[in-house]
Amino acid sequence: MTQQRFLRSARITAASLAVGALLLTGCAANQGTTGATGGSSESALLTIPREDMGTFVQNFNPFAPTVNPMVQQAIYESLLIFNPVKGDTTPWLATEWQAADDGKSITFTLRDGVKWSDGKPLVADDVAYTFDLQKKIKGGFEYLETVTADGANKVTFSFNKPWSPALYDLGQLTILPKHIWSALADPGKDANAKPVGTGPYTEVDSFQAQSFVLKKNPNYWQPEKQKIAGIKMLAFAGNDGANLAAANGDVDWAPQYMPNIEKTFISKDKEHRQYWFPATGATINWQLNTTKAPFNDVDVRKALSMAVDRDQVTKIGMSGYAKPADCTGLSGNYETWKNKEVQDNCDWTKLDVDAAGKLLDKAGYAMGADGKRTLKDGKPFEFKISVGASSSDWLSVANVISQNLAEIGVTAKVDSPDWASVVAGYETGDFDSGIVWSANDPSPYKYFNNAMGTASVKPVGTKTFDNYHRFGDAKADALLAEFAVGADETKQRDIANKLQERYNDVAPLVPLFSGPVWGAFNDTRFTGWPTEENPYATLSDRAPTTVLVLTSLEPRK
């Protein structure tokens, strides 16, 4: 997940240092036998570190932007769950859904027999109320006109325009109980210290600033799947502490970044430990500010892209854990959507220094006698790559790119102030180029809309929060509008294919690699983890699929 990007990457340096220290002091220590502290495995708590919260505050309000761990995974549940690795959808609080033929509404049918943890039944009114509250407090869902409960178990969402991306948008919002939340004076600011939810683990127990426990929901709708006694979250102010806990065998799940994981984690107990980093995160892009010359020239964008050695970028910047991007720009999250033809005939995301040079020559950016290229106005071909100073991994990415470009006579300087000023530059359009992550949704709509939809293009000086590179394309707009109507899946896939062709033609930005989703586990105490062979979910503990993991694990007998 790219969420908490700043803090996480700030810690990668620290984590690497820490692991370096561990390696130096010798790794011969305890062979993961200390794992089973805390009684028999039947009553053991599933222990998970949280690496970006030094301490916890007893606040289980899902509207909080930096929400406590497990609030949206173990306490509240959504109507459906999309699994990006397999590309399939599991009905959850809803058993089925039907989109209207005109694409302007969807009706969900709720599951029978679902109860809140206080024993009251889940009804359609809860769903309608949740969306009203969400719109009131956090906004978004601009396309959503009304939400109407039809009896106890049907709820209809009506839109002000045909809008197919809505299904996952609506389906993955966690549902709150109306009878609790409507009684609160200020639901946006309530600490919700004793949450009532439909999830498998809702009961807050022994809350401390450094750890807390969630115990079984006594009224869960699939009690046969609550096989673990409870979840214990531990607070860490950085990856290093969390990694040490994982290496030491004190935690069951390690969903944080670990440098050199084979050596620091796996090698201590090969039988019980595994990791799996599927490339279903967001695509990491190198965005070129297309309001500036020469980045407004598609040949330049493609030539620069061809000069980038993506294998080197992922190896040096991402420890080899990431997967290089291709000409569709889509990350591993959209494997089923990819246009095979575009992929097979891909040229501008493959390393080819000669072709890059020729393309620049042809476009009129000639190489001088000193081995440096000049722009059309005679100025040197020079620009900056802006990356936040704390993200050591992305800094290496930028440095590799800078070295790669030197080979084609282009000078790219890495500029690394604090993230705040980097992002401020992105937002106002006052930057040359930068390393940016993209939207990551079940449907590829948002990715292409942010990459090349004109609606999100703002003039330089006006703040924008997506499409920092400020590229818009009328043809893409038409396709996007058609895609949004949805209705028929074959047709939608056809449009997605055309969008990828268009993307391939105009190269709105330079895709670098698919971000990996970190995850490792130690099955000494619990079995049933998702793996590459059984990818029923990712190993993230912050994804919508996390509840699938929580309801699949069982104590080792």
């Binding site: 969420q3 301490t55 505050v57 606040n59 860490f236 290093d240 604090d418 705040a420 992002v423 401020a424």
Partner: protein
């Protein structure tokens, strides 16, 4: 009494200046908290939600002076608002639930380092060229110049992971409920050993050297020679005559350090996953969490000023020369 009132007035002005700086500094940092937060959660939030978020978090867009008046009012009435990075927890709750651990850790380490360091300094100066004087200072300075992170990780790995003598994380075991029982207190004590020890190790050299050097100067004073000539017991001369006079710089340093205890143990908290406000301050700065930053700065400022005020009063007792002007 007039002296104390005058100092009090000085501290009030210093307090006003520092809370004004606390107000201004975060606002001169580039970016604003909401777009900061948005950039962090890029794949989860829609751009249309930014306005709502701004409203929800209560991010101010009033003119600066209006914000300032409101801010002063809030500070005087003790309202620090709601933290942005830990929304919707009130700042007082975020700080309140953690500051105790920071004080415990920083306070313990400071007292041990200052007391032991000063005693060693006194001993070293009294027996110049002896074992303590020749071996300890270079050793302590050597340890003190280690990067703290490195030292802490090393101690953690050696004594925590490999030897298993001490717990490797948190302020107390996750399996024990806080209470005033011997079991809990000893558990807290065990958890305190490694983090406090590493802070003591890196800071003790400074205390020892400072004390040693002023003691050497004092030992050359005429009144020491006079005391020796009178045939007083060496212990009495060492503590009552020499150390008491040599202690003044150390008292000042102790007062200053006392204030910085509140914000100073960040790396320790990160390495030992110790719950505390040090790491919270870093997170607040990175997230441009104005209210939490202001709350923490205010706490630190107040602690520094209070500690200095106490040192001032103590000084009057220790050094009669201060009283006369």
């Amino acid at each position: 009494m007039r002296f104390i009132l005058r100092r009090l007035g000085f501290y009030l002005i210093a307090f006003w200046v520092s809370i004004t700086l606390n107000f201004l500094l975060p606002r001169f940092m580039p970016g604003d908290p909401v777009s900061r937060m948005f950039a962090r959660t890029q794949d989860r939030m829609q751009p249309e939600q930014i306005e709502h978020l701004r409203k929800l978090l209560g991010v101010d867009d009033r003119p600066l002076w209006e914000q300032y008046v409101g801010y002063l009012h809030n500070m005087l009435t003790g309202q620090m608002g709601v933290s942005i990075s830990r929304f919707p927890a009130p700042v007082t709750e975020v700080i309140g639930s953690q500051v105790g651990w920071t004080l415990l850790l920083g306070g313990t380490a400071l007292v041990i380092a200052a007391v032991v360091g000063n005693l060693l300094g006194i001993l070293a100066a009294w027996r110049r060229g002896g074992a303590v004087d020749s071996a300890l200072p270079p050793l302590l300075i050597f340890i003190g110049s280690f990067p703290y992170f490195w030292l802490a990780m090393g101690a953690l790995y050696l004594f925590g992971v490999t030897l298993g003598w001490f717990p490797i994380r948190h302020a107390f075991s996750d399996t024990i409920e806080p209470s005033f029982s011997w079991a809990f207190v000893s558990d807290v004590g065990m958890h305190l050993v490694l983090p406090a020890l590493t802070i003591v190790l890196v800071s003790i050299g400074g205390w020892m050297l400072g004390m040693r050097n002023t003691m050497i100067a004092t030992n050359a004073e005429d009144y020491i020679t006079m005391a020796e000539a009178k045939g007083l017991r060496p212990g009495r001369i060492m503590f009552r005559y020499a150390a008491r006079n040599a202690m003044l710089p150390s008292v000042t340093a102790f007062g200053m350090s006392l204030g910085f205890v509140v914000g100073g143990a960040m790396l320790t908290e990160v390495v030992f996953a110790y719950p505390g406000v040090g790491y919270q301050l870093l997170a607040a700065v990175q997230g441009l969490d104005y209210p939490l930053m202001q709350g923490l700065f205010l706490t630190i400022t107040a602690a520094v000023l209070l500690a200095n005020f106490l040192v001032d009063i103590l000084y009057v007792r220790l050094d009669p020369r201060v009283r006369s002007n």
